[in-house]
């Protein structure tokens, strides 16, 4: 337990070291999450658009794209 406390104290510089590491991880995690969010929104929107287009073209089922 003592060694954990010693590690966390970072020789007295804990107030600087840990926020620095926190910024590093938070920013990179945000950078990782942002495109995931965009992708799920995009897929939802594209799917809705495809459904609308298929309704407009007359059939009630989703068109199966030609396999080429």
């Amino acid at each position: 337990m003592n060694s954990v406390m010693h590690f966390l104290a970072m020789g007295g510089y804990a107030d600087y070291v840990w926020p620095a590491y926190a910024v590093f991880f938070i920013v990179l995690i945000a950078d990782n999450l942002a495109p995931r969010l965009r992708r799920s929104h995009l897929l939802r929107e594209l799917r809705a658009r495809q459904i609308r287009q298929s309704r407009r073209s007359g059939d009630n089922t989703l068109p199966t794209p030609p396999s080429s």
């Binding site: 590690f7 070291v17 594209l46």
Partner: protein
């Protein structure tokens, strides 16, 4: 044999091919990033001894320096893709350039903040206007400018070309700023700047740094792959290959 590389590159620049390529490589890149990151952080935080002068505060180096290197590396990649995009108008180059900008901005931001947190206990100040810090701040503004300009256009391809042009102008500007601020600092005597020299670093501090450098590079690759995939879906949304993907992901 001699022309399979250009052929492969040409195939790769086709959006559906790159989408698959990126999708295959991305998990591996991310895995390597996490593995090297774990190794580097373990080595840096737990194994490496405290510095003689700076105590444990120096451990910020293991995230500050790799981030700084990434901020410049990503700008170089962005600049090269921008050049390819402007000269040959290759769609993939436009996407790579534009999608690199936010990642570069993230690393530049991390560099500035972690540097500031390191500077306070070491130099006694959160900020100083020396050449290196000022150039890094200007770099952040350049990234933000590229992102902002790209988003100001209705037509995305046109916006990408304009932002690519700005990125290329910026490449020339960063060394100019660095040089001019250096000159300015020597004009104003009395600025105290301490630069932590890496070349004399002991091996047990150096190897975690190198591990973190690899980790951040692989992370950039993984993040770029993911962002490029999403942007290609958006850009090519009317095409068949995108429809297939949208359909196959139905219900997820």
């Amino acid at each position: 044999m001699s022309n399979w590389i250009p052929l492969w590159l040409h195939k790769l620049s086709s959006p559906p091919t790159f989408y698959r390529f990126a999708g295959t490589l991305r998990p591996w890149a991310m895995a390597l990033a996490l593995v090297f990151g774990a190794i580097g952080l373990y080595g840096g935080l737990l194994l490496a001894p405290a510095d003689y002068q700076q105590g444990d505060a120096y451990r910020i180096i293991f995230i500050h320096v790799p981030s700084a290197w990434m901020s410049m590396f990503i700008y170089a990649v962005m600049g090269m893709s921008a050049f390819v995009a402007l000269v040959w108008r290759i769609k993939l180059a436009e996407v790579v350039a534009m999608q690199s900008a936010p990642i570069g901005a993230a690393f530049t931001f991390i560099t500035l903040v972690t540097g500031s947190l390191w500077g306070k206990p070491m130099w006694g100040t959160w900020w100083t206007w020396d050449a290196r810090l000022t150039s890094e701040l200007v770099l952040l503004f350049l990234y933000l400018g590229v992102i902002g300009l790209y988003q100001a256009f209705e037509d995305r391809r046109q916006g990408a070309r304009a932002a690519a042009f700005l990125a290329i102008i910026g490449i020339i500007n960063v060394p100019i700023v660095h040089f001019s601020v250096n000159w300015w600092n020597t004009l104003h005597q009395g600025s105290t700047v301490n630069i932590f020299g890496h070349s004399k670093m002991s091996w047990d501090m150096l190897w975690p740094l190198l591990a973190m450098t690899l980790a951040t590079k692989f992370y950039y690759a993984a993040s770029l792959f993911r962002r490029t995939q999403t942007d290609l879906l958006s850009l090519e949304s009317g095409k068949d290959w995108v429809r297939q993907i949208v359909n196959s992901e139905a219900g997820q």
